[in-house]
């Protein structure tokens, strides 16, 4: 960190000594994580490990109790609006309005992010998630899987350099998971920095450059994908998952 509290800017995400408490319960403790530009990191962990709290803090939806978080060199506590321009968040909730059409939802969020050439960008992202035919349908009439694809389109309408994915496949049927995964794969193929939380080991490892296991609010394991033996990793993950029960 430099004197102004901003990060060095060399990393897309710099987390130092991050902590989050809810009363006496510590959701996150002493998290240190650095994610390079264009790197894809998957965070695994049992329920209650602190994955969603981490994503909420990275996305500025929640304030940390301790530590600093810098995204692209900007401290999220000091310049949250600047940071919000750089991030897109996909969660299991879609953040969409059921009574508005796909087009109206994307136009609304595009205006909020002040997206240039908005009409063109709306058509680009809708084509990317392969839902051009449903552009003028109300979101409430779409299937859960289609809504999640529109939610991904919403998250990247402003072309963010960092995309945060918080269990994006929760509540989807197998067919919808395949469709969403195809979109997420193409998301990972770009220059974007991606941090994803998931319980799906195969997909998480496949999509990432590095994997992290969060357990009881602490990072207990992190390794580059190339050095991971999936069977050993599964054993490690299962050990933490079992001990969390």
């Amino acid at each position: 960190m430099n004197e102004t509290g901003a990060g060095s800017g060399a990393w897309a995400i710099e987390v130092e000594g991050l902590g989050k408490s809810f009363g006496s319960h510590r959701a996150l403790t002493g998290i240190c994580l650095k994610v390079g530009r264009g790197e894809h990191v998957t965070v695994f962990g049992p329920n209650g490990a602190g994955k969603t709290s981490l994503i909420k803090i990275l996305s500025t939806l929640m304030k940390p109790s301790a530590g600093t978080v810098c995204l692209d060199g900007s401290d999220i506590s000091k310049v949250p609006s600047e940071v919000r321009r750089k991030i897109g968040l996909v969660a299991h909730q879609t953040f969409l309005y059921d009574d508005l059409t796909v087009y109206e939802n994307l136009k609304f969020y595009g205006k909020m992010y002040d997206v240039p050439n908005l009409e063109e960008q709306i058509h680009n992202v809708v084509r990317w998630v392969r839902l051009e035919a449903r552009l003028h349908d109300r979101v409430g009439t779409l299937s859960r899987g289609m809504q999640q694809r529109i939610s991904i389109a919403r998250a990247v309408i402003h072309n963010p350099s960092i995309v945060l994915l918080d269990e994006p496949e929760v509540g989807l049927d197998p067919h919808a998971i395949v469709m969403v995964r195809e979109v997420l794969d193409s998301l990972s193929a770009g220059e974007r920095t991606v941090v994803m939380t998931t319980h799906n080991l195969e997909q998480g490892i496949e999509m990432s450059d590095r994997v992290v296991i969060l357990y009881k609010g602490r990072i207990v394991y992190q390794e580059h994908k190339d050095r991971i033996d999936i069977a050993t990793f599964r054993e490690t993950y299962d050990r933490y998952t079992e001990s969390a029960k």
Binding site: L61, I87, A91
Partner: protein, 224 residues
């Protein structure tokens, strides 16, 4: 600055579009307000001399209690699919979100007032052309919705929000409602401007205080 207004308008227009399609707020509030007016119309004889004294109270009781129904729904739209989180992710000042939501609730309440006021005037045999009453409605609605929008956001995550909203909100908005009743009584009695000036000033002062305080408080209300 123009970008800020464009974003306020985007939130306002999003709420208007949703309301045009669902009609959740306007229908419920209108039906409730009309029922109150009709019941009072049967309870009091509109031909008697008491009309001018009780009519202002009836109008503002109908407006206030029906309005609370509407305020309960202002942030309900943001709860579905956690859309408020989507709004909070946007790179905008929280003030923009508040003003956008306020513009929506202010407009809905004005539409409701525009429908129930002529019906009220007809039911109670009062003159239909009362331009000063329009000014009172605008001032009262602004104060009512400024505090109401803030408390609607506050009550959004409370389990018993339908009960809690009026309990929290009504004591604060009472000065504006009393002002509205007093000035409406003056208008219905054909009194001069000077008789209602003090109450108008009180309403304007409360509107300004409510707007400023609610704008400043909103950030703390919606943060996790």
């Amino acid at each position: 600055m123009s970008r800020m207004y464009a974003r306020v308008f985007a939130i306002f227009w999003k709420d208007v579009l949703s309301e045009i399609r669902t009609k959740e707020i306007v229908t419920a509030v209108l039906v409730f307000a009309l029922l109150v007016l009709v019941i009072f119309n049967f309870a009091f004889d509109p031909a008697s001399g008491t009309t001018a004294r009780i009519a202002p109270g009836i109008l503002w009781v109908a407006f206030t209690f029906a309005g609370i129904l509407g305020l309960n729904r202002v942030f309900a739209i943001e709860k579905e699919n956690s859309s408020l989180a989507g709004l909070r992710l946007c790179p905008v000042d929280r003030m923009v979100i508040f003003w956008g939501k306020l513009a929506g609730s202010f407009t809905f309440m004005l539409v409701i007032a525009a429908v129930i006021t002529p019906i009220f005037l007809v039911l109670f045999n009062l003159p239909l052309f009362l331009p000063r009453l329009a000014l009172i409605i605008v001032l009262a609605t602004l104060g009512f919705t400024s505090v109401g929008t803030l408390f609607s956001a506050l009550a959004m995550n409370i389990r018993a929000r339908d009960i809690m909203l009026p309990i929290l909100f009504l004591p604060l908005v009472v000065p504006v409602i009393i002002g509205a009743v007093e000035t409406t009584a003056c208008v219905l009695a054909g009194g001069p401007w000077s008789d209602m000036l003090t109450w108008l000033e009180i309403m304007i002062a409360f509107d300004i205080i409510y707007l400023v305080v609610a704008t400043l408080m909103f950030e703390f209300v919606i943060e996790e």
